[in-house]
Symmetry: C2
Subunit: 340 residues, 2 copies
């Protein structure tokens, strides 16, 4: 397609979108003997659109070298790979502290939208299949350390114990806990589509744990609608039966990156923790993941929340582990009732 053809397609699409006002063409010319062309438009809401064709390839390293030589020691240059736009496969994910990272994604095996979230399973050459929920990496085949860290494997003894998992639809926690000979593991999920996807494509992580909704020593329960409300119903039932848990392990959302310890996600987390302690035995523990260890502000907020906002006084410890597919060092909390 000619440059004029490309320009017409882009401008035509933009006119459809920019219904708030006209596009004004500011420049349209050939800018070199090689035939490089340039068109610049201004549009509504202070937008500018630049369309540029290059007759020759641009050697960035050569250009960087020329700049550095010309400008001397006062010049700092950094040459970075171009951002890849318009690929079929997205290769970029953002860390919990908003840093840009490019992954070696070379395929996608699941791309569906459930009632609750966008579910993708992509393939990374390094990390294997990766579960991505609403654009956030959740767990990959490489991440056993995440599961072992959240459950504190090696430090906690799950033999003969009653365990409640909140979410965990990838089946990893359920699978690893079953190996520890517990009395019973109950997993409360909201999204069966995640489980169906992971059963096939993250099988080395979940094993056969998602093949059936129950087995000798485990059961998967579902919640319809609001997670807090649904969990509350289950808990009222367990309390009426006199049932208590030795562990509640929460694989829910990351903690908020905001610095204010109130609102939205914090209220949700406080509710979940308070409810959990209402069914935990007196020596029971609430184990959870939190966020990246660089996220000082969010971690300080979570500490504050735990120290001041819960129904019952608690004490807590923290551990760290570098989770490969997150490309981040991640923080895990272990919370129990304060001993009098």
């Amino acid at each position: 397609m000619s440059f004029r053809g490309v320009e017409n397609v882009i401008v035509g699409n933009l006119r459809t979108l920019m219904d708030a006002g006209p596009l004004e063409k500011l420049v349209g010319k050939e800018i070199s003997p090689n035939g490089d062309k340039l068109a610049v438009y201004s549009g509504p809401r202070e937008s500018t659109i630049t369309i540029r064709s290059y007759a020759n390839e641009l050697d960035c390293r050569e250009l960087e070298s020329e700049w550095a030589n010309t400008m001397g020691n006062g010049c700092k240059t950094v040459t970075l790979p171009a951002i890849k736009r318009g690929n079929q496969l997205n290769v970029y994910y953002v860390t919990s502290d908003e840093r840009l990272t490019e992954y070696d994604i070379d395929g996608k095996v699941v791309d569906v939208r459930s009632e609750f979230q966008h579910i993708e399973i992509v393939h990374s050459k390094t990390f294997g299949n990766m579960l991505v929920l609403d654009g956030l990496p959740n767990l990959a085949l490489s991440d056993l350390v995440y599961t072992e860290s959240i459950m504190c494997r090696g430090k906690e003894d799950f033999k003969g114990k009653e365990i409640l998992i909140l979410r965990g639809g990838d089946g990893a926690l359920l699978n690893e806990l079953r190996k520890e000979d517990p009395k019973k593991v109950i997993m409360v999920e909201i999204d069966d589509m995640v489980m169906q996807a992971c059963k096939t494509y993250l099988r080395s992580v979940c094993g056969d744990s998602l093949d059936n909704y129950q087995g000798d020593n485990y059961q998967v329960c579902f919640i319809n609608g609001d997670y807090c409300r649904g969990l509350h119903c289950h808990m009222e039932k367990w309390k009426a039966e006199g049932k208590t848990f030795d562990y509640v392990i929460s694989d829910l959302t990351d903690i908020s990156i905001t610095k204010k310890p109130s609102g939205g996600i914090w209220d949700f987390i406080v509710k979940i923790i308070d409810m959990s302690f209402s069914v935990l035995s007196p020596n029971g523990k609430y184990l959870t993941h939190a966020t990246g260890s660089s996220n000082d502000g969010a971690l300080k907020c979570f500490d504050y929340i735990l120290e001041t906002q819960l129904d019952r006084p608690v004490t807590f410890t923290k551990t760290n582990a570098f989770v490969p597919s997150f490309l981040e060092d991640w923080v895990f909390y272990q919370i129990e009732l304060k001993k009098v």
Copy 2:
């Protein structure tokens, strides 16, 4: 500074650089009632320069949401953090397979240029102090797994052995090998400035191993000028003395990312390996790191080089480990003479 002032500074600097031809101003106007301004120039070598001021902050997520709503299900959008330009501290590094990654760099403690390379030690919240040579991350406080992988700790027995380290100026290999009770470790370096920097700022990695150039069971030798030529001199001396090594451990450059197994870096690597086997005992091993495990092309080349280009037939094995500060899974080779 006003927009016109900024424009004048930029254009003034560019006129100094662009000695090959004039800059032509194509556009200079206010493009919104808010006062957003735009100037566009074309310059020599088909360059275009766009200078843009924004009166209001741009809410990218709101914009992404509007695009997605307007274009419907046919639209895929990805919102990424902006590339941070012009910071005092560079936060971007590029993986061995040319992927862009943003680090949590919050300080720099060393920034010097030796005769051989640009030496920086920066601080990452996650990885601690990181040695960066010519813009490439080399080793951080978080990376014991790199050192243990290159030396195959736990699989190789270094007690009473003669070991030669090629480069290794961060002192990590020397420090870990000394703990294994070897007979003697000789390290051949080229750049004392790296050692001086690491002695202070990567101390938990090198311990006291760089405090002196020799000790009971180790010695650091220096090479002036060309590494191959200098190493050759040392080797001729050792061969004349009848000295052999049980291990040569190479912490030299990464293998090339080119797909052609010839030229530049490959010729250097072949020379180094051939020289090393000339001083290795018959059962001796050459241990080295290679590149990221995503770098299929380079790894295939290295295999081909080892199978066809060396003076002596060899066999080799490979191991992998995820190196935290590289944000990559890295490949390590263990090479020995083919047994007849």
